[in-house]
């Protein structure tokens, strides 16, 4: 028998069974193995201690007062009831409260559904109104777009040789760039910050990370013969790639 088999066999026995056991292979192993012998000794001592403790407390029992008190209780019980002794309360308070809270829970769920529907309808209405505004054409944007593109390309060709075109760079206006990011939609729904800016069609929208600059320009009016007499000041939103995204006619 190995130590493992010894422990397995010993573990299957109770303390008393272990002491009284006649499992000879187990005891033979304990003779050969010092560790298992110590373990067995400990268990036998424990069993002896348990036996002594049990013997010392074997005669202990409840005092006669307990029996008398119980018999008094018994007489009261049978006298009071005269029927099955076990009494079950018909409806505990917790159960009644749970019924109340159940109704409350249903009411709360119904209220939540109504509020959800109301909010959903309002959101849908707002969404449809926004969509309708976006789908409207932007007639004012088409002509200035062409003008600005023409003016910018002309200024690039002529370079600094044209003193009459003054370019004044201003600090980036974030509110403008924020509103111009969405291209057409921002033009169609002007805000209080930039009511006159018109996004140019067919250009890439500004992305969040890109820097936009607002440049004030004097733009020649297309088709005019006298350029000096026919210029127009405009604020032009230029993206970080140098392309014009939106513009506003100042006067």
């Amino acid at each position: 028998m190995t130590c493992r088999e010894f422990k397995h066999a010993a573990a299957s026995l109770s303390l008393w069974e272990l002491v009284r056991s006649d499992n000879q292979p187990m005891f033979d192993h304990a003779v050969e193995c010092a560790g298992c012998a110590v373990w067995l000794d400990e268990r036998q001592m424990l069993a002896a201690g348990m036996q002594a403790l049990r013997a010392h407390t074997a005669g202990r029992q409840a005092s006669p007062h307990v029996e008398q008190a119980l018999l008094r209780r018994f007489r009261q019980q049978t006298f009071e009831a005269g029927k099955p002794v076990a009494k079950h309360r018909s409806a505990p308070i917790a159960f009644r409260l749970s019924r109340f809270f159940e109704v409350g829970a249903y009411a709360a769920a119904a209220a939540a559904i109504v509020v959800g529907l109301f909010v959903g309808v309002r959101l849908l209405e707002r969404h449809s109104a926004t969509g309708a505004a976006q789908s409207q054409p932007v007639p004012a944007a088409t002509e200035p777009v062409q003008q600005v593109q023409t003016a910018v390309s002309a200024s690039r060709q002529e370079g600094d040789a044209r003193p009459e075109v003054s370019v004044k760079r201003e600090a980036a206006v974030h509110s403008v760039s924020r509103n111009v990011r969405n291209g057409y939609s921002s033009a169609a729904t002007p805000t209080a910050d930039d009511p006159d800016y018109v996004a140019l069609m067919f250009c890439d929208p500004l992305i969040c990370s890109s820097d936009a600059q607002v440049v004030r320009m004097e733009l020649p009016v297309a088709g005019g013969s006298d350029r000096d007499a026919q210029t127009q000041v405009a604020d032009v939103v230029v993206g970080d790639d140098g392309l014009v995204r939106a513009m506003r006619i100042v006067n």
Binding site: R54, E67, L70, F74, R75, A86
Partner: protein
């Protein structure tokens, strides 16, 4: 009446037969009392628990289902719950009064021969070690080792599997062995019982 089973006595007691209740009480109270005594270390708590268990039996005895187990195991299960409540209620007091010390006196009887001093000392040390075990280990030790219940009956009383009882006992015996070794190796370890007899 004495030949009736526990279940028959309970049925008669619940129908108002006082004698049946008395017989049932006298048959079972000792084991319940000793279980509570070994668990708590206090005879006061043990008496209180014994009374509570039989009052419970009077009030809720009809809930007992013989098909689910023996009445003895059922009573141990009820007693276990009352012991827990009692210990929770008076836990700090019980620790301060050191229940095993309180009951140590009861282990000494006038007619004990002198050669059993060592045995009593062992019993006292063992009882203290048992009381210091965690509750679920103590329950297994008290039921199986001190009340000599079978594993199946103990499992029924504690509401767990037989394997659980087995493993708890195994672990509890290891812990008890270590505690007893430790207490025996303590340099100033002189039992009050020993001291009394020596004087």
């Amino acid at each position: 009446m004495l030949n009736l089973t526990d279940e028959q006595l309970l049925a008669q007691a619940l129908s108002g037969d006082e004698e049946a209740f008395t017989v049932l009480y006298r048959r079972r109270q000792g084991a319940i009392f000793r279980f509570a005594l070994h668990m708590s270390g206090s005879s006061q708590v043990a008496e209180e628990v014994t009374q509570d268990v039989f009052v419970f039996l009077l009030q809720r005895g009809r809930d007992f289902d013989p098909n689910r187990g023996a009445l003895g195991a059922y009573l141990f299960g009820v007693a276990r719950n009352y012991v827990r409540r009692a210990l929770e209620r008076s836990y700090s007091e019980a620790l301060l009064n050191s229940p095993a010390d309180e009951e140590e006196e009861s282990l000494v009887t006038e007619d004990d021969p002198a050669d059993t001093i060592a045995q009593r000392q062992t019993s006292t040390a063992l009882w203290k070690a048992v009381l210091s075990l965690p509750e679920h280990y103590r329950e297994a030790v008290v039921l199986c080792d001190l009340q000599e219940l079978s594993y199946a009956a103990a499992a029924e009383a504690l509401g767990c599997a037989i394997g659980t009882i087995r493993s708890r006992l195994h672990r509890a015996h290891d812990m008890l062995g270590k505690k007893l070794k430790h207490s025996a190796a303590a340099p100033g370890h002189v039992s009050r019982v020993t001291a009394r007899f020596a004087s």
